[in-house]
Subunit: 247 residues, 2 copies
DNA sequence: TCAACACTTTTTCTCGAGATTTTTATATTT
DNA sequence: AAATATAAAAATCTCGAGAAAAAGTGTTGA
C-alpha cells in the first residue's frame, strides 16, 4: 500500500505529514523517482543516499523496500537497489491496465457520486484550467499543472467506493506520470489536452458514463502516443551500468 | 510488488529460494498471515517476532514494510505494525475488484494462449482434481488443495501478457485466500467446487471467452457467499491485541 | 468512584559498526 | 595480446545498542 494504509485512512496522503523518518524518506524518494531526479535504471547506493536524504542506512533501506512493492524500485538479490527500468512495452501495459481500472472507477463514480462530488469535480477542473493558462508564461507552472492534473483525475473517481480500485489507480497513475514527465521533458503539453479535460468534465457532470469513459480512454491512450514518438535513447539508455553515469 | 519484482522475473516466485534474509522472512510472514497463523488485527511486535523468525530487528522491519505495501500489514504512525484487519465490506471490495481483474486476464489469456498453454491448463486442472479427491481422507490434503487451486488460477491467466494485471491478480488472490481460509476453518470445501472448476476448464480450452468468464465470475462470487454466512465473531473479533480499545 | 498526574515499563524507531558478498583493479600465464 | 587467477576495494546485508515515544501502573485528590 503506497503511503496511506489501504484501510482506515481518512485524510488524503499528501495532506498529513510523515510521522516517521522512514515514511518521510519514502515520500521524498518516490517523488524524486517519479520526477526523474533519479532516472530509470540508476543504481541506488544506500551509502550515498543516506547522506542525500539525511537518514541512517537502515532507515533508508526500509524506505526502499516500500518502493519495491510500488514497482518504482527493483531489488536485485544481493546486488542492491536500482530505479525500476522503463520500456515501451511496460508503458503499453501500464496504459492498457490503467484504462481498465480507471474507466471502471469512473463508471462507479458517476453512478454513485452525489452533488458534493460534482462540485469537487468542477472545482478540480477549474483549478486545472487556470494552471493550464499559466503554462506558457511561468516556468514553475509545470509543477502546479502536474499536481492539479493528478488531483483532477483523483477527484473524478473519488466517488468510487472501492478502496482497491483507487489503490491500483494511484499506483498506475504514478507509473504513468514517470513516463509522461520524460516525454514532456522537451515537448510542451499540447493544446488539445485542455479540450479533452473539458469534454471529460462535462460528460462526467452530465452523468453520461459511456461518453465519459470513451473520452477518458482516448485521453489516457494519447499519452501512449506521445511516449511512442519519444526519442528511443530515453527508453534504452535507461539500462544504466555499473559506472553510474548521470544523465 | 509482492516478492518477485514486477520486471524481469523469469521464474515463478515460489520456485526460487530467497536470496536474502529479508526476503525469507517476508515470505514466511506472508504465508503465516495468509494462513491465519497471525490472525487479523494481531499486533506484530518486532521484539517478539525476531526470535520466532530468527532474524535481527532491522531485518524484520524491512520484511514488514514489504508486507505493508501488499496490504497484509498496516503500519500505524509510531505505534508499530499490525496484521491488516478484515471486514465483510473489505472482502466485498476485494471480490468485485478481483472479478474485474481476473476476467479481463482470462479473456486475454484465451485470446492469446497457445497450445502449450492449453496443456498447462489441463495439467493444472488434473492436479487440482486429484487433490480434491483426497480432501476427505487425509488431513494434510488441505494444504495441497490450496496450493494447487492457486496454481490452477494462475495458469488460467498465464497467457495474459500484462504483467500488471497478473501482479494485481496475485495481490487480490492472496487477500481472498486469507478470507477463504477463515471461512473454511470449519466448513469443508463444498462438492460443487469441483464441478465449477470442470466447467471453467472446459470453457477455457474450448476458447469460449464469454462462458469461461461467466463461470469464473460466479465461482469467485460464491466464495463471497461463504464468507457472508460466516459467524460474525470471526469478522469482528479480529480486532485483536493486548488491551485494544477501538477509537 | 472516578479523573488527573507522575512514574515505570515496554516497544518502537533510529543509528553506527562488523561480517559477506559483489565488483573493480592488478598481476601472472599461455 | 587475451584470458585466467589473485588481491584490493566498495557496497550490501545483518545485527545489537541507544534515544524517543507509547502504553501501562499506581498514587493522590476532589
Amino acid at each position: 500500500m503506497s503511503d496511506a494504509a489501504l484501510h482506515h485512512s481518512a485524510a488524503p496522503d499528501a495532506a498529513m505529514e510523515p510521522k516517521t523518518l522512514v515514511e518521510g524518506a519514502y515520500r521524498r524518494l518516490r517523488r524524486n523517482i517519479v520526477e526523474g531526479v533519479h532516472p530509470p535504471g540508476e543504481k541506488l547506493r544506500v551509502e550515498h543516499l543516506k547522506e542525500q536524504y539525511d537518514v541512517g542506512a537502515g532507515t533508508l533501506r526500509e524506505a526502499l523496500q516500500l518502493l519495491v512493492t510500488d514497482a518504482l524500485v527493483v531489488a536485485q538479490g544481493q546486488r542492491g537497489f536500482r530505479v525500476a527500468p522503463i520500456s515501451l512495452k511496460d508503458f503499453e501495459d501500464i496504459t492498457r491496465t490503467r484504462v481498465l481500472i480507471e474507466t471502471e472507477a469512473l463508471r462507479q463514480s458517476i453512478a454513485l457520486g452525489d452533488d458534493d462530488w460534482e462540485g469537487r469535480v468542477l472545482a478540480a477542473f477549474h483549478r486545472l484550467s487556470r494552471a493550464e493558462e499559466r503554462l506558457d508564461d511561468e516556468a514553475s507552472a509545470r509543477e502546479d499543472w502536474e499536481e492539479r492534473n493528478r488531483v483532477f483525475h483523483e477527484v473524478l473517481i473519488s466517488a468510487c467506493p472501492s478502496r482497491w480500485i483507487q489503490h491500483f489507480q494511484q499506483i498506475l497513475y504514478r507509473q504513468s506520470e514517470r513516463y509522461r514527465r520524460l516525454s514532456l521533458f522537451r515537448n510542451p503539453i499540447p493544446r488539445d489536452v485542455h479540450a479533452e479535460h473539458q469534454l471529460l468534465c462535462d460528460a462526467t457532470v452530465a452523468r453520461d458514463s459511456e461518453a465519459a469513459c470513451k473520452v477518458l480512454t482516448e485521453h489516457i491512450l494519447r499519452t501512449l502516443d506521445a511516449v511512442r514518438h519519444m526519442p528511443t535513447e530515453f527508453l534504452n539508455a535507461a539500462e544504466n551500468g555499473p559506472k553510474v553515469r548521470q544523465a
